[in-house]
Symmetry: C2
Subunit: 421 residues, 2 copies
């Protein structure tokens, strides 16, 4: 039997209904996407758009709506499990081998979009597309540039995984670059919020080389120590676990291992998914690797669509309606930012000297901004650096990069099939 839920809480019925809609729509749209030779993840993102607040409004899609928090947390579990799964399929040695290449791609893919974003805002102001307070112009330009530096590894990794391309050199360079990108993003976020806060208080900026050095040290230190210590103890630990008898223990301990890495990663300021990915790299070296991967699959199937649907649900389609005159300006800004965002990341693939890799694949793999771009845009909004117009434009840019990458990536991989691998 049931008792009524409280009005300001997510009731059991509403929660189960939203969850069911996410599961069903994600797979229906995923199937349709595959039918027209597009990646399933594109369908899942579109399922989110359809279910989201600006179309059917059937799932809680924006902050403040009842139940948003719960689905947001499940989405975090979803992307963590996805990156854990991808870590399990990735060899650490290969990742280290492409390390210098990945670093080059990551740095170019951060510096170039930043500069392009920065000067786009200056240009918008000059040519009257924006009418910003001259005092804050530089800060707005910096925040916008910072948003363009983001990379969402979740989107690309999912496409690569669905296409069975995780073992290619391109995939490894992209995954490595995405991890380094997260560290760089962390520094940028720290610097930008530091600048904003010192601008607010009128004091000197507290951002110093020492601070930045500390952030880098902490991030790389965590990765190095967690992978080293993990490789040392995990194989023995899981040998012991495999002797225990209670149902489901091995799977739940493997997932818990990934979640602990995700929590530590988050405490170190990195994204939880970086930790989950590292946990996968570590557990790949256990003797129980195959059982873990096999049993993880259905759990991943259940959770990952929640992440992609949630990303899609954040899209406000009303911004894209060209019949509302205010939107024209927003769309124009979004379009220009989108073009520079694509160019900036795409170019990063061409910094590589190696001949046996498909540079376009790497460039395109870095394009999607996804949830990381949304976090940056949210910071800009919450500090009132972005007004609602610029926030809409930046969000639209983030979404366009997120939606264009999967089909482009699939197309490029298919075309290069004979020459690469």
């Amino acid at each position: 039997m049931s008792v009524g839920g409280e009005a300001d809480h997510l009731t059991v019925e509403n929660f189960l209904l939203s969850l069911t809609l996410i599961l069903v729509f994600s797979k229906v749209f995923g199937e349709l996407a595959e039918r027209i030779k597009q990646p399933a993840v594109l369908g899942e993102l579109l399922a989110g758009v359809v279910l989201g607040g600006s179309v059917l409004a059937l799932i809680p899609a924006t902050q403040g709506v009842i139940g948003y928090e719960t689905f947001h947390l499940l989405a975090e579990v979803g992307v963590a499990i996805l990156l854990f799964e991808i870590g399990l399929e990735t060899d650490l040695k290969d990742l280290i081998k492409v390390g210098p290449t990945s670093t080059l791609v990551a740095i170019t893919g951060v510096v170039l979009p930043f500069l392009l974003g920065f000067f786009s805002i200056i240009g918008f102001q000059k040519y009257g597309l924006l009418n910003l307070d001259p005092n804050t112009l530089t800060l707005v330009a910096i925040t916008c540039g910072a948003t363009l530096t983001a990379t969402s590894v979740g989107i690309t990794a999912r496409v690569l995984s669905d296409m069975n391309k995780l073992q290619t050199n391109e995939s490894k360079i992209i995954l490595g670059a995405a991890v380094i990108d997260d560290i760089l993003g962390l520094i940028i976020l720290g610097v930008v919020t530091g600048l904003i806060e010192s601008f607010r208080s009128g004091s000197e900026s507290s951002v110093s080389i020492l601070n930045i050095g500390f952030i880098i040290l902490k991030a790389f230190g965590f990765l190095a120590v967690s992978i080293f210590v993990g490789n040392l103890i995990a194989p023995k630990m899981f040998n012991f676990f495999s002797k225990l008898k209670v149902r489901g223990l091995l799977l739940l301990f493997a997932i818990s291992f990934a979640l602990i890495y995700a929590i530590l990663s988050n405490l170190m300021g990195l994204a939880p998914i970086v930790g989950a990915f590292a946990a996968g790299l570590v557990l790949r070296n256990t003797a129980q690797f195959n059982t873990i991967e096999h049993n993880l699959k259905p759990v991943s199937d259940f959770f990952t669509p929640i992440f992609f649907v949630t990303i899609g649900a954040a899209v406000d389609v009303t911004v894209f309606n060209p019949f509302v005159s205010e939107n024209i300006q927003v769309l124009l800004i979004a379009l220009i930012l989108f073009v520079v965002a694509v160019i900036g990341k795409f170019a990063s693939g061409f910094t590589i000297f190696q001949k046996d890799v498909n540079k376009s694949v790497i460039g395109v793999g870095m394009i999607p901004r996804g949830e990381v771009g949304l976090i940056f845009a949210q910071v800009g909004l919450s500090y009132a650096i972005f007004d609602s117009k610029l926030f809409s434009a930046v969000t639209a840019m983030v979404m366009l990069t997120t939606f264009i990458a999967p089909p482009l990536l699939q197309k490029l991989f298919k075309e290069g099939n004979d020459t690469v691998e």
Copy 2:
């Protein structure tokens, strides 16, 4: 990278940490329980007690605490998936075959505990253990009796499933009785809240035979129609689904099918788990049954511990401290209620005439009150029918019945191993 969560919300770190603790503790305690020849579910319940608010307070265990809602919803998914899994392993024909027996067990197991609970309260008042307002005495006695009628099928079903005993006659009688019990519980809950509300408003009771008839009709009607229609269309539907290609579709559609049944069940006033169980009965008849069951297992492994840990976490161990003088009276009331609660359900097994079933197993299988008992107790508290003393005693009774049933059930099944089956 990460951005700080709001203070009145569950942060990503805290959520992941609580989740990890639930997964790890449930399996550690489950393993320890099996080592001392006890059912794993007893370990999971104890893990909840340890993690809950009155011991380590590491997970949000009580209403109002930040994050409680999220884990409560995940627990609902957990028990729904468990009952779905058990439905998949149960043959509807067998269930119908034992129908009359189940009905007899369910009715006795409701009437007897109700009467025993009712007269216990009258006795407590007479002998000074309680000092209730004579005006509300009858109402308190009725509410307490109602709480004693509850049966938590989740606990028993889990033990039976872990022991591979779901195919025995005893299991089928218990499962059938539990479904009927839920319908009876629904009627009782409706009658009791109706009585309370009419007492409050001073008006005539709105509880009529017509109302009760309508509740029964709605519940049985839903079950009959959903199973009949499901059996008609599900095999064709899932034949079609199995032809689709996108990863995870079959599993997610099967889970969605169960969730839709759970939602409909809840809308009809029944527990979501009754619907999930019915969905399992239906999908058993699909050609994809084996694939569904195989892939559901890891998802069930992930979710069900959340349910059992949440039940355990609701225990307030401070009530059991005999060195606090106030507790003595509470404990005495709890103990007497516990004894009559056990007797009432245990006796229900002996209403059966069949010779080839272990009557004790059935009686014990009906004992655990679990989350259903907690819902009743919560109603009594929220309408201020139970004062905090009686609420503590009733909750303690619920917990004692929940914790005693799994080891007892296992013991009885092992003893009867040669004679039964």
